[in-house]
Amino acid sequence: MFRRTIPLIFAFTVGTFMVVQFFIPHPTFLAIYNGVLDWQQVIFGFVLIVGTLSMVRHHIMRLKFRKEGYQYSMVALGGLVCMIAAGIYGGIRGGPYKWLFDYVQMPTQASMFSLLAFFVASASYRAFRARNVTATLLLLAGVIVMLGRVPAGEYIRIGDFSMREVAIWILDYPNTAAKRGILIGVGLGMSATALKIILGIETSYLGKGD
């Protein structure tokens, strides 16, 4: 009862309110709506603490059982502790917290992200091969847009059109059509799942069992 039924009734109430308020401009509804958004934030803050504890546990286990590469777990835990300490003692607007963000977290993240430049090259070399009709279309659309997006694309011509114009046409029409079709389906799927959650048909987010 308290383990499953009441949480589901709770979910139904909160969810239904959020649907209904969408159609009602009354200020009271707006105020409650804003309150709900704030509470969501707070809950997420607490969940993040629990999540971080899980991460700490994971690395402590590695240390405890001297798993391969356990030394690195010390680095991860050390980084975590430093960042929290820097945040608590130096504030989050400047000091060591900002320094660590600017010179450790930011460049590492950006470099990780930029690995994609290498990976798009290796993935396209491997996958963009004219094996069959669909693969050929993937290849052609990819190459045309790749070239059409850089200045050089203006000098390469296909019939009366420059590569850039062809690229834009592909992006504006066939591509928009594909996106729109996916979008409509995903929108329906999204709303369906949301509805199932509110109605208590979809309960996997609560975990199975009672």
């Binding site: 899980s54 994971h58 590492t108 993935a123 709303s191 996997s204």
Partner: protein, 372 residues
């Protein structure tokens, strides 16, 4: 008689001899939470008096107020304004526009309005209609499905590969890695992914193949733990469950990507499942997985990331196929019913698009504008 009343009467008096022909109108701003009145008029420019205009201001008063108040000023091009300055609901306000010219001050007609709270946003009628139709379809199909009616779902390419991929990991004696995306629990893709995870965990559990699930979202992590634990329980292998295999990595997107790529390189899982909502890290994960020689089954409803999974993975579930796959594998009647409901909603959308297009071609674009 006090001054205030004199002023008020004065306004009313001048208003009746309006010399500024701008046709000022005032109405309660529609579809809002009150405390706003929308004013419109012909711009000074359009009535060709703009050349010598020095200033134009909006004046407001109420029947029992004691002052005439300037609310704001305009340029000669303005023709619309929403007044929200200290308005109260259910009180009648009177407005005039006062224009200053080099030698005279001229005033417009007086316009009055009462601001009210609306209980329904009419601009969203179409959405309300959509919500109602959709809810009805979904509930009725779910109901019929739970009553045991047979429902057909077409085969989805790539799903047979799930069994094969789990088997391969077992043969090679290597773990399976399952990444449920990096989004939150309120994302459909995540929910679909977790339903698939339940099935994968059962298959892996049967062969006692290790399953690791790194997480970026802490709520998703807690749910994954529950789901995997339950799957192992169902096949009678609760001993296989190790909470540490399903852990939180970091909330940072690329911190997560770095860690998961690192694990892939070191543990070399035989099979990677990348199912759920992904962002830019999709290709980092997929290419690293490819370099380690793993079989990769991917799926996402993020149209921006699908191209990368298509190029770098062995099988890819496209968009809605991901949702359908979760239903297809679990075969749960209620979920099957809702997939049907979704399918028919899509059919309705499709038919409406075709009808709307035909009507637009035939010269009736009004139909399309209903969907605003």
């Amino acid at each position: 008689m006090n001054n205030a009343v004199v002023v008020f009467l004065l306004i009313v008096a001048t208003a009746s001899f309006a010399s500024l022909p701008v046709d000022l109108t005032a109405v309660d701003t529609p579809n809002d939470g009150g405390k706003a009145i929308t004013l419109s008029w012909k711009s000074i420019d359009s009535i060709q008096m703009g050349d010598s205009l020095i200033g134009l201001s909006l004046m407001r008063t109420t029947a029992n107020a004691d002052t005439l108040r300037e609310i704001t000023t305009f340029t000669l091009l303005d023709s619309m304004y929403v007044d929200e300055t200290d308005l109260e609901n259910e009180i009648e306000y009177a407005y005039i526009l006062r224009a200053q010219f080099p030698s005279v001050v001229e005033e417009s007609n007086e316009a009055t309005a009462i601001s009210r709270i609306q209980w329904f946003n009419k601009e969203r009628s179409a959405v309300l209609g959509a919500v109602i139709i959709f809810t009805t379809l979904l509930i009725s199909f779910t109901y019929h499905a739970s009553k045991g009616r047979e429902m057909f779902i077409r085969r989805i390419a790539g799903l047979e590969a799930v069994e094969e991929a789990v088997g391969r990991a077992t043969e090679m004696g290597k773990p399976i890695m399952y990444v449920p995306g990096i989004s939150t629990m309120s994302d459909v893709a995540t929910i679909a992914s977790i339903q698939i995870l339940a099935q994968v965990a059962k298959k892996a559990g049967k062969y006692a193949t290790r399953l690791t699930v790194p997480n970026r979202d802490p709520i998703v992590m807690t749910v994954c733990q529950e789901v995997v634990r339950e799957s192992y329980n169902q096949i009678g292998r609760p001993d296989l469950f190790n909470e540490d295999d399903i852990h939180y990595v970091t909330y940072s997107q690329f911190g997560f990507a770095a860690a998961v790529s690192g694990i892939m390189m070191r543990e070399k899982p035989a099979t990677n499942f990348l199912l759920g909502m992904f962002y830019a890290e999709s290709l980092i994960l997929a290419e690293t997985g490819n370099a380690t020689g793993a079989i990769q089954i991917a799926g996402t409803d993020s149209d921006a990331q699908l191209p990368f999974f298509i190029t770098a993975c062995d099988y890819t579930l496209i968009g809605e196929e991901l949702y359908a796959a979760s239903v297809y594998l679990s075969r749960e009647p209620k979920l099957l019913g809702s997939l049907k409901g979704q399918d028919y909603a899509k059919a309705v959308a499709l038919v409406l698009i075709i009808i709307g297009t035909i009507l637009s071609i035939a010269g009736f674009p009004q139909f399309a504008s209903v969907f605003k």
